[in-house]
Amino acid sequence: MLTDSTGAQHSRQRDLASETALRGTPETENILQTVTKREKEQAKGMKGDLVFRYLTTCFAFSILAILALMLYEMTGESMPSIRAFGWKFVSSSDWDAVQGVFGALPYLYGSVVSSVLALLLATPLSIGAALFITEIAPARWGTIIAPLVELLAAIPSVIYGLWGVLVMAPWLQSTVQPFLIEHFGFIPLFQGAPYGVSMLAAIFILMIMVVPIITSITREVLLAVPLSQKEAAIALGATRWETIKMAILPYGKSGILGAAILGLGRAIGETMAVTMVIGNAPNISLSLLSPAYTMPSVIANEFAETTSKLHGSALMEIGLILMVVTLIVNGLARLLIWSVSKSANGGAA
């Protein structure tokens, strides 16, 4: 606050000086003093702005530095594993910490199957719900349901996991899985014993988790559909469903796709809830009833207590794959959503 007091003082003095000048009794000393003060103050003011500029620049660029550091560290730490196993890392299913052999195929398989199937279930539900909220339900319902859905997207994944492992999995084990085995057991997807914790549980919990995300983004996309599009369909005598099918869905197509892909990105990276319900067994099994494993889950379970350097490195490589995959998936989603909002804005203008 030192600068401040001199600042105020300085202008007060200057004022004094000009007033004395007005009165016709110039006090040269006073004026001289004012001038040197002014120069000092100038130097300080400019320095402040310069420092501020450098500081904010540094902080802004630190984000890029963090990102670069992340990629550098992940790649560097993965190198021993990459050198040791090469492409076999993603094609082999031997994961043996004692022997020092690591192949990540079961985790890749588990991640892909759980998130893709969860997405296939979640997307239609989300689109239906978003359409209901925006197009069919009275406006007042929408203002209640929409923030509720957004709030749900913010629930921590460990809480979904808690519910999944203590409520959903026992219910699957006692009710759903026996039913599936009895009536659909001839399909390989539903063979085996009812474990409760399983691929099926992971798919369900992921579906429940990504639905709020896809719904709220789809809702935004639908709200961006220009009224003129709907009016054109309604003027042709279309029913509400026909309007949705003819005008709204085609217009929001790529935005909805973007929402779904964003949900996929979230599902692939999801760690806690999946770890708690998937059973954590590195199987590659066609049956959805058997336990499985995913990439984030194996990291969560093993990274804190690795047995060797190579083990840690193999987990790092899984992390690297995870990071690159989510980067691509999220980039794609953003591109799609962005293209929609851009064309919507263009249409409005």
Binding site: M1, T3, D4, S5, G7, A8, S11, R14, D15, S18, R38, E41, Q42, A43, G45, M46, D49
Partner: protein
Amino acid sequence: MSNKVHLEEVNIHFGKTHAVRDVSMSFPENSVTAIIGPSGCGKSTLLRSMNRMHDLVPSARVTGKILVDNGDIYGRGVDPVSIRRRVGMVFQKPNPFPAMSIYDNVVAGYKLNGRLPREEANEIVESCLKRVALWDEVKDRLKTNAMTLSGGQQQRLCIARTIAVKPEVILMDEPASALDPISTLKIEELIEELKTRYTIIIVTHNMQQAARVSDYTAFLYMGDLVECGETKKIFTTPEQKRTEDYITGRFG
């Protein structure tokens, strides 16, 4: 009467646009000079160069000399901040700080730069509000938010805020264009009153206003200074054909 501000071959570019060309003129101390011209002629641009407001626009380039008390404000090592303290500015739309009370707005120039002793602040607030003839209207509600004032009152508050930091020159960028006729009249009376202490440079597109308030007038057209001189002369016997056309309303 001495010249307070002096422009020498001032050119202003925005990227590739040449907004102001070779303007040289003087602004006498303790007088009001109006800059008139059709919209887009560069008058606001020229005004803003006189307290270095263009420093914020990366593409803007000001060349030539702008002297205040014979010191070049674009000289090496000159801090734009200290220039702006000597050359204050009132904007087209009243822009009091919305999160501050009337009182705090008047002393904002001090408060934003640090602390100000209470007694001194009280003095400044009272004297500045009195000078802009706002004191009687607001003295009972100094602590209420400044946005509760009418547009005209807000603009007078902005003027009070500007004179509170004791500038030598006040730049006014169409200060009454967003106001109703009665508020405009009050602002014009205020300008008349303020020129005894400050050098005032006002940009206006309203020729009657220029004729009413100013001692000197400069006519700017397409970035060129067409003519400048005593207001009376400009409005009665302009030397240039273009000035006459503009003043008689034949274009613009």
